[in-house]
């Protein structure tokens, strides 16, 4: 893999740090008038999702990370792996539980997910911003209630729990914002 010097560091560049691929968020040039220049870099570790700061001596190089994002559609899980397909090449790829993390609860068959591959292996799976899921369990609500009064918890088919307005009932399909984990609306029939 290519090496990148600090003068090539910019937001979006993927580099290796402590054995983990990282995405550079910011690179600030720091230099005392009579001294060595440094790059103060803010980056996100792609596997642990931690944001950290690292200072480099200007002109130093680090190894690039072979990381790419790809759009794949979710097929099924065998309990150990979650299988995705490239709809153009029909190649399949399997992601493990670590790559999915909390996003397991937003996986809907045939939905297109963004999968980050590091050396060809999935390390992060990001579901679409909105998914539609059926409610399997929720208390019957009061009639005449409207959205915005606090709502009630509802368990979805994937096991996710979201707060929904009181008028939404068991068996209905709702639209959820996966970034916030919040109810957006009833699904359009």
């Amino acid at each position: 893999m290519a090496h990148f010097s600090t003068n090539e560091f910019k937001a979006g560049l993927k580099i290796m740090l402590d054995g983990e691929p990282c995405n550079i968020l910011e690179n600030e040039y720091v230099k005392p008038g009579k001294g060595q220049a440094f790059s103060r870099v803010k980056l996100r570790k792609l596997i642990s999702n931690k944001v950290l700061e690292k200072t480099f001596r200007s002109g130093d190089s680090v190894e690039g990370a072979d990381v790419m994002d790809t759009e794949l559609s979710y097929l099924y899980t065998d309990g150990e792996f979650w299988h995705f397909m490239n709809n153009e090449t029909f190649e399949q790829i399997a992601a493990d539980e670590k790559a999915l993390g909390d996003n397991i609860k937003w996986l809907v068959e045939n939905d297109t997910c963004t999968i980050t591959l590091w050396n060809g292996t999935p390390i992060v799976v990001i579901p679409p911003n909105f998914v539609e899921l059926a409610i399997t369990e929720t208390d019957p609500g009061l009639k005449g209630d409207t959205a915005g009064t606090g709502g009630k918890p509802a368990t979805l088919v994937t096991g996710a729990v979201v707060r929904v307005p009181l008028f939404v009932q068991k068996g209905e399909i709702i639209r959820v914002d996966t970034r916030s984990g919040e109810y957006a609306s009833r699904a359009q029939k």
Binding site: Y29, V30, K31, G35, Q36, K54, T55, R57
Partner: protein, 332 residues
């Protein structure tokens, strides 16, 4: 037609009105103090040897000669101004453009404005007081703090920069996660160059961020190995009479009680070039006219360079140097 906004100045009218006001206040101050305003060339056939400074270059064509001359743009007006002092000029100041290659950032524009002045017969402390007077005038700051370089390292990092070992400096760096900056293959000793480089790192990241918050601070007596063009402290040869001003995370001014010993000046040029060579950098020719002037004699004096753009950032609370320039580097 798609009209882009890229032609517009990077600084606002408000910023540039303030710039004009500050420049006029500074000129008024020096007029009152009877310090002479001068202008010196911004180009020269030679440049500084500083290991951490790179000059931009240009080429001059002479209509009366087939030879083309390679010239450097000044990184500061120091050598020309000292040549004037050696020739008998009184205390002088100038407000001039300086140019530094390979420096772009929040506090760095490749072309910037410097206020540089020299005070005959001033000792370091007298010039520190005058810098403070100007800051109070322009920024309305309270009287500045003063601390030595050594005191600050001791206070913030528990490190005695004079007597502690290289191993201790390295272990502090490693504890802060700077193991990637420690020279490869370090065992127990660092070159003076690398020791200073790590001290500069710790100063930038762990001290500069904590000092000069409420009021400006003058940091004095940098180690002799970072003396630049300052005299060595007669009371302690390990120290130099170099000072820097910091305020709210910004390095604002660098000054010296000026070195006026030509032999020592030559030695420092040679040491700089030795370090440049070791670091794989281009070796720079010595400025012979500057050395010849020093040989005749630089009167006892102190001098300082203050970044006008950074001063303006502080006066206006701006976060990026582009906001106080008419056109920053990105707007060219």
């Amino acid at each position: 037609m798609n009209i882009s906004n890229e032609w517009q100045p990077s600084g606002s009218v408000e910023s540039l009105v303030k710039r004009a006001k500050i420049l006029s206040d500074i000129r008024l101050y020096f007029a009152t103090e009877k310090v002479l305003e001068v202008e010196t060339p911004t180009i020269s056939p030679s440049t500084v040897t500083d290991v951490h400074l790179e000059a931009m270059r240009t080429i001059h064509t002479n209509p009366l000669s087939v030879k083309k001359t390679h010239l450097f743009l000044q990184t500061s007006p120091e050598y020309y101004m000292k040549r004037m002092l050696c020739a008998g000029f009184p205390s002088i100041y100038q407000i001039t453009k300086c140019y530094r290659d390979d420096e772009v950032g929040r506090y760095h524009n490749p072309e910037f404005t410097m206020l540089e002045w020299y005070r005959l017969s001033f000792a370091m402390n007298e010039l520190i007081d005058e810098v403070d007077t100007i800051l109070r005038l322009v920024l309305n700051t309270p009287v500045c703090d003063k601390a030595t370089y050594r005191e600050l390292f001791f206070k913030y990092l528990g490190l005695d920069v004079k007597s502690d070992t290289d191993l201790k400096i390295v272990s502090i760096c490693e504890n802060f996660g700077y193991e990637n900056i420690v020279p490869l293959g370090f065992k127990d000793t660092l070159s003076t160059f690398d020791r200073d480089m790590l001290l500069q790192l710790l100063f930038c990241e762990k001290i500069e961020t904590q000092i000069g918050r409420e009021r400006p601070i003058a940091v004095t007596k940098f180690p002799a190995s970072q003396a630049s063009l300052a005299k060595i402290d007669p009371a302690d040869p390990w120290l130099s009479l170099r000072f820097e001003f910091y305020y709210q995370g910004i390095e604002l001014a660098n000054g010296f009680e000026e070195l006026n010993n030509v032999d020592e000046q030559k030695t420092r040029f040679i040491l700089d070039n030795k370090q440049r060579k070791e670091g794989g950098l281009e070796v720079k020719p010595q400025d012979m006219k500057f050395l010849n002037a020093l040989d005749v004699g630089l009167p006892m004096c102190s001098g300082v360079a203050l970044g006008i753009d950074r001063l303006l950032m502080l006066a206006l609370g701006k976060k990026h140097i582009s906001e106080v320039l008419s056109f920053d580097f990105a707007a060219l």
